[in-house]
Symmetry: C2
Subunit: 349 residues, 2 copies
Amino acid sequence: MSNITIKDIAKALNLSVSTISKALNNSYEIGDETKQRVNDYAKANNYKPNRLAKSLKIGHTNSIGVLVCSYFSSTFLAQILDGIQKASLETGHDIIIMQSFENVDNEKACLDALISKGVDGILMAPVSETSNSEYLNYITQNHCPIVLFDRFNPAIETTKIGVNEYKGAFEATQHLININRKRILFITGDKFGENNQRILGFKKALKNLDIPFNQRYMVYCSLEDTEAMDAKICQSIQQLTEANIRPNAIFGATDVITTRTLGILANLKIKVPEDIAVIGFANTDIAFSLNPSLSTIRQPARDIGYLALNKLVELIDLHGKKPAQYETILLETTIQLRNSTNLETVQQA
Amino acid sequence: MSNITIKDIAKALNLSVSTISKALNNSYEIGDETKQRVNDYAKANNYKPNRLAKSLKIGHTNSIGVLVCSYFSSTFLAQILDGIQKASLETGHDIIIMQSFENVDNEKACLDALISKGVDGILMAPVSETSNSEYLNYITQNHCPIVLFDRFNPAIETTKIGVNEYKGAFEATQHLININRKRILFITGDKFGENNQRILGFKKALKNLDIPFNQRYMVYCSLEDTEAMDAKICQSIQQLTEANIRPNAIFGATDVITTRTLGILANLKIKVPEDIAVIGFANTDIAFSLNPSLSTIRQPARDIGYLALNKLVELIDLHGKKPAQYETILLETTIQLRNSTNLETVQQA
DNA sequence: TTGTAAGCGTTATCAC
DNA sequence: GTGATAACGCTTACAA
């Protein structure tokens, strides 16, 4: 559609395009009176600079791609995005959000789209620790910096922001054992390898307290397809029940897993925490409002987003130079005990 | 950073840039063998088309701006975004999300940024019914189509997607009266005018059942600043309590208002629904999980987003022509009764 | 203080 | 079938 350009202003004011450009950019080369005229005309005619043209010329866009793996209605993700947004407002960058929906091919396609759009840097939560890892290294070397958050592969050479998953999982497990719930079902994503820190923390806590690790208490479910996830979780619980080894506690490795598990248990008429105590790697805001309120390993979601964007901007400001050392920042989690693991209120009630 | 261009390919293959361009775009003018060579080289060298340059040339970007007024962690909004995202995947558009944070000046700045970025169309939930309304008309006439969702001014001439707020508010109010709660506090945003459909529906229900409307039971709070919102809500309830006219029901006009109200009541040790029944204009997914579960006027959030994007794309495909008639689509709400207005379970318990 | 001209990476028109 | 060339709107040496 129509759109007044610098050229139109030049014509109207009988000046050259370069004069207009400079005037609009408040260059010292241009006289005050001319600047005034140009700016007045621009304002009066609703001139809007074409950022495509500008970016094409100057070689950067001042925009950052954010690639996340799940739906916005994941509250954990939403809070990370709020943190990213807050930081981007401060640094003056636009953000372009894309979603991989837990799918590796989508992830690559999004990455390409972001690069095509000329983003100055990319912030991403990978689908899995190993997804597209060589490609990510390629991008950081040839296109733009990337900062990873939430999940990540130690092998990728770039800045990463996350939480101390190992310690968080350890504490959660330990708490379940402390309240004497030792048949703990651990539900995690099927794309997480055996070396996932949450799994390792879980196993370590068992080992420390001499609880034998039982492979039947590990459930790997799809994160990509929530129906499949629900089915898998439901089926696992039912099978264990039939085998007379029903767990008396569940530890969910992601917020989506845990909130869905709560729904599934309600459907199965299994009482929380009486029959099964539940704790999750999830986030405060919503956990507090759930019914029953959910005990969680709280991750500082907004901080992750905020920090990640700032670190990315630092990298961008290096203009292609590599930093002396890429950082891996692990924020601390805190354990938040609520009713889903509180056996005392139950007995009182 | 480096980035191989069409020109580089031309040089490497001893062909002209136009040949490369046509080959990459699979033009009938180019021989199969040449196409093959070009595509192979491009793939091998990780060529990525520069969309800035392309868009600048062809005059559109295939991207859509989405301007929302609140935080992503608003679940209602998150669900609308999920709907928008789903539709955009199907139509093949990118989306650029910006946030006005319930502030009129931000709103205008975001609009300008979006236009500068060359979006083909804009999807927005205005800060208030009247915010930037002349400017919106200007944009639709001179830049690109806009589709409004959630809130909107009947005076703006464009497509709008929302819900039948009048009917929804009417039903919610009627339900409160039916359970014999007639001192209803209505909490709404301070930027909503007296002609807001939710307010009108509320008043109509009172009138129908001969309940006198009491201005003291109207609370207009800030949507921009949640601390101010909390303070206002808290103060209103306390003042009415002191005046011995404490409401026995609350109707919240937005999801943020209602969820925060629930928290405030818990803090004040006011029992829901025993002391005060609560109903909100909110959304299912989270309402179900709240404690107590929240009765709501359910808005089909994902449908709103999905429809809005599709309608916008229809407008975009008109390439600047105006449609014969702009539509205003009001989806139906459904009333979902849960524990926050359920007095029976309370008496049983 | 202002103007000229080249160029960013594409596409499209027209010629060969 | 392939190749020059201009143009999209802007910035930036360099010239005047």
